[in-house]
Symmetry: C2
Subunit: 212 residues, 2 copies
């Protein structure tokens, strides 16, 4: 029971902080606000996570770990390039959809002046990049070429992240909730196809395809 209680309280803090960080950004959220939402005493945060930044570290670890474990096996599959790309887009979009708050907080680009956190993120990103080296190679991306690095998978993920940041923001504001409500299963089926098409054949190719 004790262990159970333990987990529950820690989990509540984690989830409350995650939701608040996603909504307002790390710096804009205070520990008291987290404690209030988690229905927990303030000191519980330091008890379980050491410091405020400890929650963020936990979020980052959780997100990158799950992300890597999700896309790595897909990247290692042996499929024709086009099929492979489509499957990867599908995988990434679904992961972002199911873990929107996690990716918004963990994949946020604005640097925090907390060296430890920055190092943690760098470590993860480097690791994932190495783990996906084969997939990148298959796409013919030369890791030395910074132009190719700037587009390719990097660009794809930027687009997807941007979409879910916008979606999440829209869900908060009454005037945009109507839009957010349209983003259902049906939408994502089409979205994944359209995004794959765009990445594979571009805007002109996509246009030709539609005109056929």
């Amino acid at each position: 029971m004790t262990t159970e209680h333990h987990k529950i309280a820690k989990q509540r803090i984690f989830e409350a902080a995650l939701a608040l960080f996603a909504r307002k950004g790390y710096a804009a959220v205070g520990v008291r606000e987290i404690a209030r939402k988690a229905e927990v005493n303030i000191s519980m945060i330091n008890y379980y996570f050491g410091e405020k930044a400890g929650i963020l570290k936990a979020i980052i670890n959780e997100c990158y770990d799950q992300y890597f474990r999700t896309i790595k096996p897909v990247g290692d599959e042996d499929l024709p390039v086009e099929t492979h790309v489509r499957k990867m887009v599908n995988t990434v979009v679904n992961f972002f959809r199911q873990n929107t708050e996690l990716v918004i907080v963990a994949f946020d680009i604005i640097p925090l002046d907390i060296p430890e956190v920055m190092e943690l993120k760098t470590k993860w990103i480097t690791g994932i990049r190495e783990g996906m080296a084969n997939f990148r190679k298959k796409l013919g991306i030369d890791s030395q070429d910074i132009v190719q690095e700037g587009i390719g998978p990097t660009a794809l993920i930027a687009v997807i992240l941007n979409h879910f940041q916008s979606k999440y923001a829209a869900e908060q504001y009454p005037q945009f909730k109507e839009y957010a409500a349209q983003l259902n299963d049906e939408f994502y089926k089409k979205y994944i196809d359209a995004l794959s098409d765009l990445f594979l054949y571009g805007y002109m190719g996509k246009k030709n395809k539609e005109e056929k």
Copy 2:
């Protein structure tokens, strides 16, 4: 002289805040830090901008105004679609390059719980979308189709914004400065072409082009 002095102090606050907001995010920066960097008394911030959020509003107005005035005339030009897209990509990338701090702060997606600021951004985005309606029409984008909205120009800007966020972050950290230094004129010439190619013909088209 008085007016001259006025401009200088206000400008210093604006620029100091802009740099700090871009680096750390709005919420992570205090007015004292801004005042210190601007070499100005703390109370001058409220004197010139009313409140801390007033600086942010000024930044947002400055950015969107300049952005719209830059891309609008390009969007209204009468060019073949491909040429038009390439010119637009070139225009947007150069604008982001020359106004990196402005776009990082103003185009940041994470919502601030300052209703006034959110309304201001919404107003600008709506206006720009309307102003660029002809260009979107030319690309064959149906504004009602949220799938097409999610990719297209939205995706392109997301990619470019992501690049400059990464670049700006890299410039701050010693271990990445080497990378940031490579992002020179030569790089952006290639980057603009590669990004245009990707958007127009996709990854497969780009690959075919290179193999020729």
